[in-house]
Amino acid sequence: MRALLLASLALGCSAPTTLANVSYDDRFGEATSLDLFLPVGDPGPRPLVVFLHGGLFQRGDKADDRAAAARLASSGFVAATVNYRLGAGAPFPAAVHDVACALAFLRRGSADYGIDPDRVAVVGYASGAYLAAMLGVAAGAPDLAPDCDAGVTGPPAAVVAGSGFYDLTTLAERKEVQAFVGGEMEALPERYAAASPLLRVGPGAPPFLLTHGEFDFVLPPEQSHRMEEALASWGNEVRLLSLFDPGHFLAAGADNGGLYGGGVRDRPESWIVLIDFLEQTLGLP
């Protein structure tokens, strides 16, 4: 029964072709590589969705987003999952440089991969949401311009940021944040401000979709509420889906009877607003 239903709904949704470990900056090996998920059929150009994983800059891998990227590629989007430099050896702005390089690399290779370079969304979760927001509000900013071969590129056409953080000055007591920025806030106040996408918001940002669990015990939901206010105050288009959920690693099931592993990004509500937002901002493939 389930197989029959799936087969009927999956018509036209063929499994994508995967290009694994494509280097977007040869200087840092696998830390600056990405996986591409290319839909079969029409060569495009198609809209691109770039996934940035979480892990508070200490852990995580592009493989974390494989299932979501494969789902979007099976739906007709080109999708990419991106590694970026992690750990104390790569403090701010290394990771921001890396994801900006990855975006520039994909746009530069748009003809090869069947990508429409003007229809690019960046989707991030937790620290990936932070990076996606940085690309949205500061891609192309002189102080964040990367020095990779792919060069500098402008912001994406849309940003989706789930369970993220955007003002590092309010999270300065956290060890992961200190490791990312490269020291404590008392010693580096300007660096903390420069590393906070919320404090860089101005007019002309691309449309943002924010999601957050209201009971997220890892990253406080106030970060998303404040980011929404900041974006809206400058007249930018922004939506916030707030879910009554623990959120980060646990979420209430659709049955309303249990708690499930995973996070709010797996919930059907999150997928509905994601595809609706992509349709409105990029258009469907």
């Binding site: 799936l6 009554f244 509905i272 469907l284």
Partner: protein, 190 residues
């Protein structure tokens, strides 16, 4: 006490006063009360409700549970509604095989197989439009234990769920994923 808590309290009180006299373990019925009504513990904290009714269809080893959950979890710029009918079969492991004890009621160790069909709709409140819908099919295998005190029971269950999400509008390809699940129900034997 908020309106939701008041609703739960009223529901539970109604269940208690509706318990028929035969709810007490009977000498003529070694399997004890053959019906149960439950609420989902986690739904108590969220914007929704999960209710279940259980029948001891093949005592002393098999019961069936039918349930209905709804929740309105979304907030800020969206409103959401999810409705989820469910069916579950429970094998009472403590009543069969080498573990078989004197108590043959629906209590003790159990193995459960559950099917949920969830329908979710999301509205974009800012634009006053339908953002989309989703259907989820979930099969869950769980191991649980029912603690019974007088007529009141609490039943924690730990298991694994295989979930498939579908987009009826066809914008998204189907996806299937496996996740751990923790559930706790509390209720009374009827």
């Amino acid at each position: 006490m908020g309106s939701r808590e008041a609703l739960f309290a009223a529901l539970f009180a109604a269940l208690l006063v509706s318990v028929p006299a035969r709810a007490e373990p009977s000498k003529t019925d070694p399997f004890g009360p053959r019906q149960s009504a439950s609420l989902s513990f986690f739904s108590f904290f969220g914007p929704g409700l999960g209710v279940e009714h259980e029948t001891y269809v093949r005592p002393p080893w098999l019961s069936f549970v039918s349930g209905l959950g709804f929740r309105t979890t979304g907030g800020a710029d969206f409103t959401t509604l999810t409705l989820t009918p469910s069916l579950e079969g429970r094998v009472w492991l403590g009543n069969i095989g080498p573990w078989r004890g004197k108590d043959q009621r629906m209590t003790g160790l159990l193995l459960a197989l559950r099917e949920d069909v969830a329908w979710t709709v999301v509205e974009d409140e800012a634009q006053k439009r339908l953002a989309g819908t989703a259907v989820e099919l979930s099969e869950t295998v769980s191991l649980g234990y029912r603690f019974l005190i007088w007529r009141v029971h609490i039943t924690p269950l730990l298991g694994a769920a295989l979930t498939t999400q579908l987009d009826p509008r066809g914008r998204l390809a189907p996806t299937t994923f496996l996740s751990g699940k923790l559930a706790v129900t509390f209720g009374i034997m009827l």
